[in-house]
């Protein structure tokens, strides 16, 4: 499989949000606005790039019985490192926007899922490409969900007001709106993919 194909695979054919339906908890919980969705996607992607590469490197020295514990240690370590570095050195704005989402990444099943299903069967470079593809796919899904919910619920996109306050449907910002929006987006995505 070429590198390009691996990236495209993560972005469309195995899109984590619309096809694999992985990582639903952060997907539903953090997409109340477009910016939150984008931030969560990017933070997850960064961790995924690191863990995929490292796990692919250590796959030979990890016996099958302790695969999962070792992977979880690696993932938790990267998330903690990211959190510490970000709160120490990242600009305030970024840290504020991303800060609360970072600990959530440890329990994101996309990360462990890709480690088990891809990284421990492929070379580090291919795993990195898979991280890029899946990461972009996740970011794309979350941003789209955030844009739709923010537009319908608060009348704005990325904080830019587009619709008057009277058209705001509060439901879309609340949890039920996340399920409804996700359902419709999956239907639309499948329709386009089928073509």
């Amino acid at each position: 499989m070429s590198k390009y194909k691996i990236i495209l695979n993560g972005l469309i054919k195995e899109n984590p949000t619309f096809v694999l339906l992985l990582g639903m908890c952060p997907t539903l919980a953090t997409t109340t606005s477009a910016l939150n969705g984008l931030s969560m996607g990017l933070a997850t992607m960064l961790v995924l790039l690191c863990t995929n590469t490292v796990i692919s490197c250590i796959k030979r020295i990890t016996p099958g019985q302790v695969h999962i514990p070792v992977f979880i240690i690696v993932i938790a370590a990267f998330v903690t490192l990211l959190q510490m570095f970000m709160s120490a050195y990242a600009p305030d704005g970024i840290n504020k926007a991303l800060g609360i989402f970072i600990p959530l990444i440890v329990v994101n099943c996309i990360i462990l899922g890709r480690a088990e299903s891809f990284a421990c069967k492929h070379t580090p470079l291919e795993s990195l490409c898979d991280g890029v593809g899946i990461g972009l796919g996740f970011t794309f899904g979350l941003t789209l969900l955030g844009v739709v919910r923010e537009l319908l619920g608060a009348g704005s996109v990325f904080g830019v007001v587009l619709l008057p306050e009277t058209t705001n449907m509060l439901l879309f910002i609340l949890p039920p709106g996340a399920f409804i929006t996700l359902g419709y987006l999956i239907a639309i995505f499948n329709r386009f993919k089928a073509k």
Partner: protein, 195 residues
Amino acid sequence: MVMVLVGFAIVIAVLLAWVNHITEAPIKAKAEKTLQDGIQEVMQTQDMKVTKNDTIRQMADGKETVFVVHEVANQAGKGIGAAVESTVMGFGGDLKVLVGFDDLGKILGYTILQTSETPGLGMKADKWFQKDGKGNVIGKSPATGDLAVSKDGGDVDAITASTITSRAFLKAINQAYAAYAHKGVDGDSGASKQI
């Protein structure tokens, strides 16, 4: 197998400890700076320095509540009021507010330090009660009676569809003032005698 797992755990523990060690100081410095910036913002002046930090425990609603009062003086050393950290139960969890009072108890400014209110509803509190917001509280004084939303007979407009958050926010300010006034009883009485 056990050796591999233990090995990974040790390597990663060492790595985390090391990173924690090097990021500890910058994180602490940053938290300090964020608080200083916050105090400066709510006191609405650059010409200030914090002269005293007091942690006050007071009973509120049968529960012990912690307030932190940062007494502030201008560069010449004259007391100009205090910034008070106050925490109340909001709609979705703790609502922590930093509010600045001048020496007579008039509200100079506020900023929200921690919130888990509903996005698109209670989350609006960070702008709503500012000077150009619809429920402006800047310049009002809890010294002349507790602030209350118009629904409860007060003169502050509550956030649309977020009466609970609005009530909680005003309660935080009222309690902050109570903590500040209680604290500064001697100073206040001294000042009024001079007048």
